[in-house]
Symmetry: C2
Subunit: 308 residues, 2 copies
């Protein structure tokens, strides 16, 4: 069975949207990535760090999906990474109210022996040196390494970021960050420049406007499913990444045609994530629902023009 | 041969972009719509009004594409509709520097006998009462009426706008205007409400993010072709409408599947329009180029997932 190694955060999130407020709930990049990837029946290992206040039942949520959490360091007496945010009425912008790194500040990932030969590695948004240290520990070169990052590391650790970017096959990045990293306004030119930094594939996430996959001169565009209501966008990007990497791990095919499918699966799963608070929708998601939505994506995008 | 009636403006535009400035050049909704539609070898009649300062050679540009301009009223001694605008660096926002309605203020369209039985009617962005008066003059009910409008009429003539919207099959509208007209933020809900106002099909134009076609619960999404460089966005929306209506006039098929193709042709032609100033790119566009870009759109959007 294909192995997917996911390195990222297990967070406590507190979220306010126009629809309501949550208390502290399960969040974090490793959470959303691994829950999405668990749709593909692959062997998933999470490497992360939590505080003593991270509820045991949150491990159960992941373990019940056959996600291996033995690589999660538990700092008894330490406090967990905590994020509080508020979404505006349009759901496209949010304010971070509180970020407490707590134990995350000392995260030094140790990859369990069982996942050192993972075929696919998903490096969640972390310090670039932390991301590099994961790759250093792999016993064999993974078939595919996917890296997520954000503007914070461009501002604070650009050289380290460039060094780890050289080592990955796919980078996922949002449109504004692609512009910042490349210095190019046009996303086509931005992707080209980032491609030259190392990654074979560049995935530009455009939120409600979908995602663009670029590989040299080849481009593929997956829209986000237009939804009547977006309830909570938290985790949508990580869920996209989890669908993407999970599908690649399942199929072990790095061709552009198969990457297209991975992007569609990412968009598919992300469209569910935003329907409820936090992980609520992903935890109860069935394969039938995913297949049904796949048909919706086909209806949304496929056409048949007879050339005249 | 199918007849397409286009009612809209023949403007003199003056444009500033980061790439340069134009003097007064040919613009206007009827210009861009009819040039795009001329790709389909149909019988196109333009109804508009110009001043005595509208250069004769601009008529030649249209007539050379077999566009019938006999329905254009020429007000000798009157000044032509004139618009001057400046695009910002990101090309997604612009400032209107000058708008002079001039002769357009007295536009009272008279539909030539030959086009009173047009199968497709494109009502460019004009006062809703002007748009209604066109429909009043048709000798038989057109197979398809497409209406374009903007927020200005929602602010100043909402009841008249609602009355003409009841009479059309397709409305093309941008995302912000769809939200204003419907009072709904979600574009899915906005399209549903506008659908209830009359039009069978709602086309929401999202600029660089593409276009969404909605018909009840059915949706189709056409991305804009990601371009390395957008030179001048003026006329892109009207070019989209021209590709859309021209294709429908050519095929005379109002099915959802065929409307999808029309949206793709609209996006296809709009992607050329923005490559040069004003009408420069559309005037020299060849059928081979359009077919080649159609292949690009297929590569950009089509995927083949084996259901597992």
């Amino acid at each position: 069975m294909s192995k997917l190694l996911v390195v990222g955060t297990l967070a406590l999130d507190e979220i306010e949207t126009p629809f309501g407020k949550t208390g502290r709930i399960l969040g974090g990049s490793a959470t959303f990535v691994s829950l999405a990837a668990s749709q593909f029946g692959i062997n998933i290992g999470v490497v992360s760090i939590v505080g003593g206040d991270f509820p045991k039942r949150y491990f159960d949520i992941l373990n019940n999906k056959d996600i291996d959490t033995s690589g999660v360091e538990i700092v008894e007496g330490g406090k967990n990474f905590y994020w509080k945010g508020r979404y505006h009425n349009d759901m496209n912008s949010r304010d971070t109210l509180i970020t407490e790194l707590n134990t995350l500040a000392d995260f030094n990932p140790i990859i369990p022996q069982e996942f050192k030969d993972a075929s696919v590695v998903m490096l969640g948004n972390l310090h670039p040196l932390t991301q590099s240290s994961v790759l250093d520990q792999m016993s064999e070169k993974p078939k595919l390494v996917v890296l997520d990052t954000m503007n914070f590391w461009m501002d604070s650790a650009l050289e380290d970021l460039k060094n780890v970017i050289k080592r990955v096959d796919v980078i996922t990045i949002n449109d504004e960050e692609a512009r910042q990293l490349s210095g190019e306004y046009s996303l086509v030119n931005a992707a080209k420049k980032i491609h030259e930094m190392g990654p074979q594939y560049v995935v530009i996430k455009k939120g409600e406007h979908g995602a663009l996959l670029v590989n040299g001169d080849k481009m593929f565009y997956a829209p986000a499913l237009p939804l009547a209501e977006v309830f909570d966008p938290t985790g949508a990007g990580d869920t996209f990444a989890g669908g993407f990497t999970g599908y690649i791990a399942k199929t072990e095919d790095k061709s552009f045609e198969n990457m297209k499918n991975a992007v569609i699966y990412g968009s598919n799963l992300a469209s569910f994530c935003v329907e409820k608070f936090g992980t609520d929708r992903m935890v109860n998601l069935t394969k039938d629902e995913v297949m049904q939505r796949l048909h919706q994506f086909k209806q949304l995008t496929q056409f048949e023009i007879k050339l005249t």
